[in-house]
């Protein structure tokens, strides 16, 4: 009675963008989980919370839930944080 994903060594560790909320709020200065972004690979618009999060690695990778393309990568080094958002055509951050 186990789902195939429970057994897959990579897929069983997949969470979602909620798991990177703290890091992203530190970087962007605002909550990002509710922010819609468009995947540059397939055009799907998802909230950051809905992106698939691969966090069991030196860097953290957020992928499109529709096509699996990489949307955002975050890598922390001892003295800096690298943020790669090449996979997002845009992120729509509301002014408040």
């Amino acid at each position: 009675m186990t789902d195939a994903r429970d057994e897959d060594p990579v897929e069983r560790h997949v969470v979602d963008g909620n798991a990177l909320a703290g890091e992203l709020q530190m970087i962007f200065g605002a909550d990002m989980t509710n922010v819609p972004g468009q995947c540059v690979h397939c055009g799907t618009v998802s909230a950051v919370a809905q992106l698939r999060a691969y966090v069991q690695a030196p860097g953290k990778v957020l992928r499109c839930p529709s096509c699996g393309g990489v949307v955002i990568r975050v890598v922390e080094t001892p003295d800096a944080t690298y943020v790669d958002v090449r996979g997002a055509a845009y992120l729509r951050i509301e002014r408040r």
Binding site: R12, V15, N18, A19, A21, T33
Partner: protein, 245 residues
């Protein structure tokens, strides 16, 4: 909502056993800005040699509680949860930042009946919603579908029973996937499309849905909701992996 979030020192002010492997910790920080039901905190532990690990924990307490309750399952080969369970005592200080998150949140002013779906410790952020609903004394019809492995592992069981018995529009429906006590009246299998359909039915298509648990459960439940005709923007999900604790 406030932009930056800084690390701050919290004091452990209470520890409560929920099940044989799950324990709640009440944390107090001097200037907690308050949180919304469904948000989480990040906790950071730093060893004397500077090695540091960080974990996210959903907040279980109602928004206006003023303190932060987190509920932690002990994972035997985990790095953080055995420390929290076996070493931390009342009065200890821990480093946290938060509140964090704005997607998986519920507020009493939101319309529509509530359908909450939890797997194991995925119940924690949903418990904040249930407690907030109770605190705000709103009578929004709410059903919690809660999957656990064994009866003894049902987190918050007595409090959920008490809230359901008070008959203010809150119901809890359990599924037990591994073992069941004699005479068990709840579901006896993993959450599937048919269970989702049956529990959703009385709430109708205006239900607002929050699903939290392991990825497989979240996807099963979310896909079933969409097939049953709920609009995607009313279905919110949060997945946690085995490393979440």
């Amino acid at each position: 909502m406030a932009g930056g979030i800084a690390w701050q020192i919290a004091t452990v002010t209470a520890i409560t056993d929920e099940t044989p492997t799950v324990r709640s910790f009440t944390l107090t920080v001097p200037d907690w800005p308050g949180h919304r039901a469904g948000q989480h905190i990040d906790l950071r532990l730093t060893a004397e040699d500077g090695y540091s690990v960080q974990r996210s924990y959903s907040i279980a307490s109602a928004a206006a509680a003023g303190t932060i309750d987190i509920t932690v399952e002990r994972i035997d080969d985990g790095e953080v949860s055995p420390f929290l369970h076996d070493v931390v005592v009342v009065g200890d200080r821990l480093e946290l930042r938060g509140p964090i998150g704005g997607y998986f949140v519920w507020e009493p002013a939101l319309d529509g009946p509530l359908f909450l779906v939890a797997g194991g410790s995925g119940v924690v952020p949903l418990m904040a919603m249930v407690r907030e609903r109770e605190r705000a004394r709103v009578e929004t019809r709410t059903r919690l579908l809660f999957s656990s492995r064994h009866y003894e592992e049902i987190i918050y069981r007595e409090e959920l029973d008490r809230l359901a018995a008070s008959n203010r529009g809150f119901e809890v429906i359990h599924a037990l996937t591994r073992s069941r006590p004699d005479g068990w009246m709840g579901y006896d299998r993993r959450i599937d499309d048919r269970i989702i359909g049956e529990v959703l039915e009385p709430l109708g298509s205006r239900a607002r849905v929050y699903i939290c648990g392991p990825t497989a459960l979240v996807e099963t439940a979310a896909n079933a909701m969409l097939r049953l005709g709920l609009p995607p923007d009313r279905v919110r999900t949060e997945r946690f992996g085995p490393t979440g604790t």
